[in-house]
């Protein structure tokens, strides 16, 4: 039977490789929060197999499952058969969009990004008390979540960079649009062009980004390869910070949440911890950390499309923070900060920050 869809052309063997052992149920954040096997990696592979075998059409019926995945890759990390579930899901989503089936939230996001500069269709970001588009050695690229949902955290990060005397500028950035690749669409070329032009105009040799997603998009996607060609480096703020020393310390018990986009997707686990250990003497790990980190539930567009389940997933992660008695939960991804922040219960007294935000606060306290 001729393969009808791209997901089958590229991944047929993989999908068949799924031995149905169900081990992915142990780590899938969506399954953990909903207990619905149809939403788990195994369930998704079974659905795709039914499509390949001609028993099911690839249509709206499957949206709730195929579009509800944070692409955290915990399943792949733990799959004894090595099935690359996130890649398969992303391709299947593109196939679904091609046949006109997509989750309305992502269809909406795609429409928004054709007209607006960010996923929220908002017009004015905070000015963060500075001019943009200056000439500087570094560009700090905030990302949509940091600009429009976690502006307080972002302001603190920028203040920290000021205190460290980093010569950086903001730009009139637009959405990197990397998320579209994961939800059935593609990066929007004129958004990519705008970002790159603005970056090149600053003369900067390095882009520091606060958002792990933008970090991956700039580094991995061909639409941004011109940056590499022009010798512009892209680093994530945790990589940038690890060479700095800080004179502040905290006695509070601190833990670190690995964002999926920084951890499992980029292998960046130790840099953030190195920085935290410099400022915290009581650092503890949550039970599922590094490549086993439990996803906060925001990624892959799930926060926009399945918000309630997304927050339920974040709540599960915070139970682990409570378990280890953390007073401060640090991470370095605005999406994680946002989702975890929303999920935190009033009775949970710990605070959630980006590491940069927290360091800045300690320095402010010292100055007081």
């Amino acid at each position: 039977m001729e393969a009808k869809y791209d997901f089958e052309k590229k991944f047929r063997k993989q999908i068949l490789q799924c031995s149905r052992c169900g081990f992915c149920q142990a780590v899938c954040p969506v399954y953990g929060a909903t207990l619905r096997p149809g939403l788990n990696a195994r369930g998704k592979m079974l659905l795709l197999k039914e499509v390949m075998d001609g028993n099911l059409p690839l249509d709206d019926q499957l949206t709730e499952s195929l579009f509800q995945c944070t692409t955290c890759a915990s399943c792949f990390e733990n799959c004894p058969s090595g099935v690359q579930v996130p890649d398969i899901i992303k391709q299947a989503r593109k196939d679904m969009v091609n046949v006109g089936s997509c989750h309305p939230a992502f269809e909406g996001m795609h429409k928004v990004l054709q007209k607006h500069t960010n996923i929220y269709a908002e017009d004015e970001p905070e000015d963060f008390e500075r001019e943009r588009n200056q000439k500087a050695a570094y560009v700090y690229f905030i990302g949509c979540v940091g600009s429009y949902r976690e502006d307080e955290a972002t302001l603190e990060t920028l203040e920290l960079l000021d205190k460290l005397r980093v010569e950086f500028t903001l730009i009139d950035e637009v959405c990197c649009s990397g998320v579209l690749e994961d939800v059935g669409y593609e990066i929007i070329p004129n958004l990519a062009r705008k970002n790159m032009d603005l970056i090149f105009d600053t003369g900067a040799s390095t882009v520091i980004t606060g958002c792990p997603y933008c970090f991956r998009t700039f580094n991995n996607k061909p639409q941004y390869s011109e940056m590499k060609e022009k010798g512009v480096k892209v680093v994530h703020i945790t990589q940038f910070l690890q060479d700095f020393d800080f004179s502040v310390r905290t006695d509070k018990r601190v833990t670190y949440h690995d964002p999926c986009d920084l951890g499992r997707h980029c292998g960046i686990y130790e840099e953030p911890r190195n920085t935290i250990r410099k400022i915290a003497s009581d650092f503890v790990e949550m039970p599922d950390n590094r490549e086993n980190a439990l996803c906060c539930g925001a990624g892959g567009g799930v926060r926009g499309a399945f918000a309630k389940n997304s927050i339920a997933m974040a709540r599960r992660r915070l139970e682990q923070a409570e378990e280890v008695g953390a007073e401060i939960v640090l991470t370095e991804c605005n999406s994680c900060v946002h989702n975890l922040g929303n999920a935190k219960l009033r009775k949970q007294k710990f605070k959630i920050y980006n590491t940069t935000q927290f360091i800045n606060q300690l320095m402010e306290e010292e100055n007081d």
């Binding site: 068949l16 169900g22 619905r36 149809g38 369930g43 499957l62």
Partner: protein, 459 residues
Amino acid sequence: MEEKLVKAIVDIVGEDHFTRNIIDLVSYACDASEHCNRPVCAVFTETTEQVADLMKLANREDIPVTPRGAGTGLSGMAVPIRGGIILDLSRMNKILKISIEDRLAVVQPGVIYADLEKALTPEGFFFPPDPASGKVSTLGGNVATNAGGLKGAKYGTTRDYVLGLQVVLPDGRIMRTGSKAMKSVSGYDLTRLFVGSEGTLGVVTEITFKINPKPTKTSTALATFDNLEDVGKAINQIMHSGIIPSALEILGRETLAAINQNTDLNLPEVDAMLLVETDGYTQEETAYQIEKVIRIFEANHPQEVKQAKTEAEVKDLWAARKSAYAVLSRIENSSVLEDVTVPMTHITELLKGIQDISRKHDIQIATFGHAGDGNLHPQILYDGYDPIQVEKKENAIKDLFELAIGLDGTLTGEHGIGLSKAPFMTLEHDPVAMNVMRTLKRTFDPNNILNPGKMALEG
């Protein structure tokens, strides 16, 4: 399904605990075996009363009901072969009580094995069976299949740890079996009837487990052999040594190769490797035991004998062993995992016999398993889309069962009969035994609605 039936079901469990969504049905059609059949609908119950009301309704209306936990069973016991309703118990997932002084834990069936372990660890206790699927499988599923695991030879299987159950019968009546006392011989041992009954006699809605203090120290060693005779001799001599290892696992050549392809362990690819663990409360104790085992290995022409030195090494070795099944399933698009078990004195014959079957039918069979209690796991790898290979697989399986029974063994040490092995029940059980089993089934479930079509119970 008639709308009035749908309404009756929704009245019992609530709208959001009922589904006919294709996304759910496709998952509920399958477990971890090669069998598949979609149910008409599925329900998630939260209380025993809901289970009872559902069974009453199903019994009255003649609707098949198939109970399900995590759906990781290997023989198809959770596959709804007659359609009907899937009864998903995974949301009944509370640990109700842990009493260290009474040495017991009371749990709902949807609790995941690993979550019970996590709750017991701070108390220094454990629930020994340790099935390889422990991170996902539910305790209800473990009870339904009398799950074994790596610790079987020393610690037994699930049935050795069930003190009592709460069960909903196929007609909806609720009953209790066993006792919270550590031992009881009051009335028939109904607990043991239900454990391993694969959800065909009743739905377990609460389990009281005996728990054990957990030995704090282990020693791990391995030995490789280039012929199966020596392996068999080594295994049998360990019996004479006076110690029982807490785990004694065997890995065959193909298994070792497959593990190497998926890890950095670089295990030697030999005819067989034995992986052994001894446990106790002091390192002296475990070292003493492992020394004895090592000496036995050394007396049987091993290629290499090695003791694991670091915690990381120990962790890696056991993780590799636990991944054997799914790692092997990367080789072909289909595989079937068997778990024939024979008395220990016949292990070598079984190992050799498996190799013969593989050659005879020209089909790949990789082997690993619990050498410590004679429970091997031959895994047959084949192309499920090639009818010739499928036929070879079926013939190989038939020979395998005949071989095991011929060696005084059993079709299944721990995975259960379900659908996969049902055609071979009469190979192992005499007509009287089969008749008694079928009579019991009819007594409990005269309308044959609870997990019908399994275990050759329909005669």
